[in-house]
Amino acid sequence: MKLNSKIPSGPLAEKWTNHKFNVKLVNPANKRKYEIIVVGTGLAGASAAASLAELGYSVKAFCFQDSPRRAHSIAAQGGINAAKNYQNDGDSVFRLFYDTIKGGDYRSREANVYRLAQVSVNIIDQCVAQGVPFAREYGGLLANRSFGGAQVSRTFYARGQTGQQLLLGAYSALSRQVANGKVKLYPRTEMMDVVVVDGKARGIVTRNLITGAIESHSAHAVLLCTGGYGNVFFLSTNAMGSNVTAAWRAHKKGAFFSNPCYTQIHPTCIPVSGDHQSKLTLMSESLRNDGRVWVPKTVEVAEKLRKREIAPKDIKEEDRDYYLETKYPSFGNLVPRDVASRNAKQVCDEGRGVNETGEAVFLDFRDAILRDGEDAVRGKYGNLFDMYQQITGENPYKTPMMIYPAVHYTMGGLWVDYNLMTTVPGLYALGEANFSDHGANRLGASALMQGLADGYFVAPYTVGDYIAGLSYDKVPEDHPEFRKAEEEVKSRVKQLLEIKGSKTVDHFHKKLGKIMWNHCGMARNAAGLTKAKEMIRALKEEFWSDVNVLGTGEELNLSLEKAHRVADFLELGELMVDDALHRNESCGGHFRDEYQTPEGEALRDDENFAYVAAWEYLGAGKDEALHKEALVFENVKLTQRSYK
């Protein structure tokens, strides 16, 4: 199969406009005859479901949480980028496009990223019209701030709760369509499989998480808006329920999976405190606007800190190493996430970490408080400081915060063409679930932008183009393909329940997480990855022979839900390792020890690796087949990323 990205011809700035004109339209009176399934109700899912319903399609929206408003987009803190240039500081669509391409280390598609930058301005308008209370200046107009990796102020925000406010906006639009009868909601329902009939996605099979009922839903198109797979690491900033299951099942039904090794390790998280820990908490990277990152210059001083013989405030200015400011004078503490994370790891590996575990650096607000006053700092970051204090028991106004990188976002995902369609016709992937816009590294405040761009402004056009070529007829839900998929799901439930082994699901999840973090985390190398592959295979075998899943399939059963998800993570983990192993270069979030510049920066190999890796599932136990989509850059010049 040859990958066709379907990028429209013509100049970059006109591609999307021309494409919108060229897509086929569905007669407004006929739209209600078409059913569209949207899985996931985060920013991408809720906005797509609402927008498609407004157009007139009949939509079914599914989420595993008890309400669509709980989707993990809600936890995004910092903000959302848009090329509004309200600050008159030189921003433009092209600059946002350029920053995003460069920030992604030249591993994303020009046309997709340009479209993202173009529609970014519409997103802000849309959200304000919905009543999203963005931060404002005293004159009543919208406020902006700068954000990691950008030198203009283009980030719109709602205190430290931007994701919450945007999601509640999309949720309100979705709720309105539920009231209008255009969307039917299925909360506490998990997608278990995609059903493909005659080569087209024609529906899904779900499990009702309360009753355990396995059900079929037929449709004309299926949109997966199911987020990322960061929880493969067990410890991440993702919600506990975030999982890869929907995307992985689609992958096994023919959707190629792209760049799985591109994972983002966020530099500003609260450090791990012990083995009992269930998740990691992010502190918005907006904190890096005013906080200064440092560690002691010497290992000796760091050791005293770790033993609590001295307090951070006792360390003299000349004994502090503000390593980001020294190394990257023009970006300083605002370097992109991958660079900030890698440097934190480096100074900790040198023995200069500042907490008991040696895996933490300081993020210090002393100077900001002296400069602007405590109230001003509280006004900007109050809720984040409170959160920090609640979790750690320390007051960040008095003593510097301690932070360490943690898994946060996954740039990889299902391969999609320009229309956001996967390699299975009629099956789409939106938001973090697809691979398309962030290359090998995502810039801050770009995830919310992409989720809403896909849902509000891209899918409503491109899905219509596909639907227009279909007849109204639905595949009946008792079609043999639905029956077959249902039977497969049921037998998998049965299989999991019958193992009755000796170890809990979490035991396996934690083990997998450790393997991934140690060998496929912030830095990877061939030897470690090769070892990891064997370890994952062995763990997978052990899982299927020794896991203990309690209860029955016909009730609310958390350990069964988790078992399904962990089983899929085990398979994904192996593919991530394969992908990381084959990519013999360093780029963005993928850092291979073997490929670095003398200064320790990521060393790309554009000649051999300027492509999207798209993996095809070939069957259980088989290595997947690699397909390549060459990345063509006509509008930017590939350079080594420099933030010096």
């Binding site: 906005s47 609402a50 927008s51 407004e54 949480q65 008890d66 309400s67 408003r69 709980r70 993990h72 809600i74 936890a75 509004k84 519409n122 308008d125 849309q126 304000v128 019209a129 009543g131 209370p133 963005f134 404002r136 200046e137 004159g139 009543g140 919208l142 709602a158 709760q161 919450q164 406010q165 309100s172 639009a173 709720s175 309105r176 539920v178 009231a179 909601l185 909360p187 919600a239 506990m240 329920g241 405190s273 012990g274 009992h276 269930s278 998740k279 908490t281 992010l282 959160m387 609640q390 979790i391 028991g393 509000y456 402004f457 409503p460 979490d506 309690l550 609310l556 958390l558 350990s559």
Partner: protein, 249 residues
Amino acid sequence: MNLTLKVWRQKNTSDKGGFKTYKISGISADMSFLEMLDVLNEDLSGKGEDPVHFDHDCREGICGMCSLHINGQPHGPQQTTTCQLHMRSFKDGETITIEPWRANAFPIVKDLVVDRSAFDRIIQSGGYVSVNTGGVPDANEIPIPKVIADESFDAATCIGCGACVAACKNASAMLFVSAKISQLALLPQGKVEKRARAEKMVAQMDAEGFGACTNTGACSAECPKEIKQSNIARMNREYFAASVSTEKV
């Protein structure tokens, strides 16, 4: 830390349910309350007993999915969500009683899990500005005074967890409903429909079986997001204005 847990166990909605007592040891003060329950569940699972079911997701205090009535208080002794409650708030040897939210409008699904879909239906009845995607004015064409925007924002931070209902002796949902009505009524975008919104949302709230408000303020005192009681006053004003208005809504 060693603790005794009295936990509400109920197989399903129709089961009668009752307390079960568990002993748990080796809990550190840095654990979150839910991580303490994770330890209990690993323990129970290891022994082949059904783990305690409870709702939780983001564990960052923002999704609103976690609940739990802890020692008689929604989300426990701190004014925060249960996931942000840490064991340093408890003493070694303490007995902790854990119950689900108690309200007719929130039927128990299993153990500590309740059905809060009533909140979704209330939002569906009018908790939005009726705009479609596209065709909206430029974001800066609607200047909003900062104080108004901030006041609206304070109301908008509600996470829909239901602690207000659980805290109220009447199981009233007024704080939740008023937060949404306030957020939108304060903003020019939301003003257009504010009367119809107040009427519809209050009607749906009543239909769901939530109780009336007697101004005890328990809701606001327990709210993890410190949603102010003054929102209820604003909702009542909007509702009253709508009921005496001659405008057809």
